[in-house]
């Protein structure tokens, strides 16, 4: 029972991280009609920046804030130099060009930080277990990820639904010409949205950094999960991305945690420990396949263009 609570929290935490990544991706896609494979690279850069800046400044908080700013700037620079020339182009062109960027970033990281991964040690005050309900302890850091990510999600919701910028973003997603007709500086809006997406990806990366090793290619697997989330949630839909991200995070985490035991009830122990990891990796894709069969446009499609 305690394990279930803990694993559910882990699932929630992973889902929220996925949401940060997917939200940026789906915003950029919804508004600029732009597929950015290099989104995962920004996630990776966020983690590398954090590991570096924390080591430099000797302060976890300061390092993380610097890393966040650096990812934001990197995203804006990337948009300004390269990506804005790809708006309005074929999705295939965008995929190939940003694929080139992934190759670039992976080797750039290898050149700068070396092929071995980095680690980002947590300060002592974040390593203590917190008692969340009587008898259930949960690491303070993972708890703070949940809190921060929820806060960011809420903030994002407020920005998108309640502010003037958000109105423009929503209008842009449903009707690109209208925004132009309103006399808004679209180029600036796009740059801002892209920067926001980059910062969200960077945030996800730097928060994940203390839990996993910071390494080359870390953004790629999680990018594909973010794609799956967007497909399940419906392209361009923030709400869909949120629901699907939590769902996927839960299934992935709980599947890994409990599937081996469940399988052991029906299979021999050896067969179960062979099949379980593969099956739990597949669970999400099976889910995606089911969603595709039932609702090809996703569970929570954004309003029709």
């Amino acid at each position: 029972m305690l394990v279930l609570v803990e694993q559910s929290l882990n699932g929630l935490q992973f889902g929220l991280l996925l949401f940060l990544l997917a939200a940026g991706l789906t915003l950029v896609f919804g508004i600029m009609d732009f597929v950015n494979l290099a989104h995962g690279s920004l996630y990776m850069m966020g983690a590398y920046f954090a590991a570096t800046f924390v080591a430099w400044t000797n302060s976890f908080i300061l390092g993380i804030l610097l890393a966040l700013g650096a990812t934001l700037l990197l995203g804006i620079a990337l948009e300004f130099i390269a990506l804005r020339h790809l708006y309005g182009r074929d999705h295939l062109d965008q995929v190939l060009a940003t694929f080139g960027l992934i190759l670039f970033f992976n080797d750039a990281v290898r050149l700068i930080w070396g092929p071995a991964g980095l680690s980002l040690p947590l300060p002592a005050w974040l390593t203590v277990p917190v008692q969340i309900v009587p008898g259930v302890f949960y690491p303070a850091y993972r708890l703070s990820i949940i809190v921060v990510a929820l806060a960011v999600a809420a903030l994002l919701y407020i920005v998108v639904m309640r502010t003037r910028i958000g109105m423009l973003i929503r209008a842009g997603a449903s009707n690109r010409e209208m925004i132009g007709a309103l006399g808004i500086n679209i180029k600036l809006l796009f740059t801002l949205v892209f920067g926001l997406g980059a910062a969200l990806a960077g945030l996800a990366g730097l928060m994940q950094a203390p839990i996993l090793t910071v390494q080359i290619g870390m953004g790629e697997n999680i990018l594909i999960l973010a794609f799956v989330i967007i497909v399940i949630g419906g392209i361009g839909s923030i709400r869909g991305a949120f629901m699907a991200a939590i769902f996927v995070g839960m299934i992935d985490t709980l599947g890994r945690a409990f599937l081996p035991d469940l399988l052991r009830m029906v299979l021999s122990s050896a067969a179960a420990s062979t099949a379980a990891p593969a099956l739990s990796s597949m669970l999400i894709y099976l889910l995606m396949a089911i969603v595709l069969v039932v609702r090809p446009e996703g569970l929570f499609p954004a309003a029709k263009r």
Partner: protein, 315 residues
């Protein structure tokens, strides 16, 4: 009658001739490395040509083609591991497994269009990658060494470099010829028509997705053959060979050469892999150059090599 002698066709003919004579050059100069390199190039060219069938002619932007390289390879590797060394069994199994995978993935993915299709083929290929990683009996993440190449009852010896090269080249030319017949057949006309205007094709009585799916399966099957060849070439098969960046590289080869031109992917593969080879001799960090180069090609050289040659051809 239009003249068939133009820059583009001359280049294609010269390249084909060069590929045919390469073992001769290798034997005369004693340069074995170039034969090894080009065996690999020829195999990837076959994979790229198969991808071009769905991308260039069918308008299906699959980002999961590396899965077939893996499936074809694992069919050979697993059967070899289990003691079945005959290519007459291994290779048909490799093709059938690829076809089956393509049928299932295609039926699901083709419910969607555009970016969704790109993402979903990518995700399914990644699923195949995880499954391969989970095959602990066959090496899991570490992969599986193939100790003995496929045997064909003494007809051909795959361990002989020259024989193996010519087998690969035969498969490539055969594959390109097959694709040429297909795209000009009734079936191919429908597939290209669907790419051009799906609604119109539906309105004149074609069930567009049925044709798309069959095309998707043909493409996957051809790529499965490339996978069987590749496994024999490297004597090794691992999940890393079907990682999604491999799918991306295949797309790059197709676009480098010129999407929707018959021989373009072959040229694209030669250029891409030679470039990779040359760059990596200069620097360990070759992708630092390849990445931005890719971006520039997408931005400024649409139509790829064939497109550029075509411009020469028209004068």
């Amino acid at each position: 009658m239009k003249s068939h002698i133009n820059v583009r066709n001359v280049v294609v003919a010269l390249v084909a001739l060069g590929l045919l004579l390469l073992p001769l050059y290798s034997a005369v100069t004693g340069n074995i490395f170039i034969l090894t390199l080009f065996t690999r190039i020829v195999i990837f060219a076959l994979a790229a040509a198969s991808l071009n069938l769905i991308m260039g002619y069918g308008g299906m932007m699959s980002f999961g083609h590396a899965a077939y390289l893996g499936i074809g390879g694992y069919a050979v590797g697993i059967l070899a591991y289990e003691g079945i060394g005959s290519g007459f069994i291994q290779w048909p199994v490799a093709l059938a497994a690829s076809a089956l995978y393509a049928l299932v993935i295609g039926a699901l993915s083709l419910r969607t269009r555009g970016v969704y299709f790109i993402m979903i083929t990518l995700a399914f290929a990644q699923m195949a990658y995880y499954i391969a990683s989970g095959l602990s009996r066959y090496g899991g993440d570490d992969g599986l060494t193939i100790y003995k190449r496929s045997t064909f009852g003494g007809l051909i010896d795959l361990s002989n470099r020259v024989q193996f090269y010519y087998l690969c080249l035969f498969c490539l030319f055969g594959g390109v010829y097959l694709i040429w017949r297909i795209i000009n057949s009734r079936f191919g006309m429908v597939v290209r028509g669907v790419r051009s205007n799906e609604q119109r094709m539906q309105a004149i009585g074609f069930h567009a997705n049925r044709y798309r799916l069959v095309c998707f399966v043909i493409s996957g099957t051809i790529c499965g053959l490339a996978g069987a060849l590749l496994a024999n070439n490297t004597d090794f098969i691992s999940p890393a060979g079907m990682y999604w960046t491999r799918s991306g590289e295949l797309m790059v080869m197709v676009v480098f050469g010129g999407m929707g031109s018959l021989f373009g992917p072959v040229l694209g593969t030669i250029v891409f892999l030679l470039l990779e080879e040359v760059l990596s001799q200069f620097t360990e960090y070759w992708a630092l150059i390849m990445g931005p180069l890719l971006l520039l090609i997408v931005l400024f050289a649409r139509g790829g090599i064939m497109g550029v040659l075509g411009r020469f051809s028209r004068g």
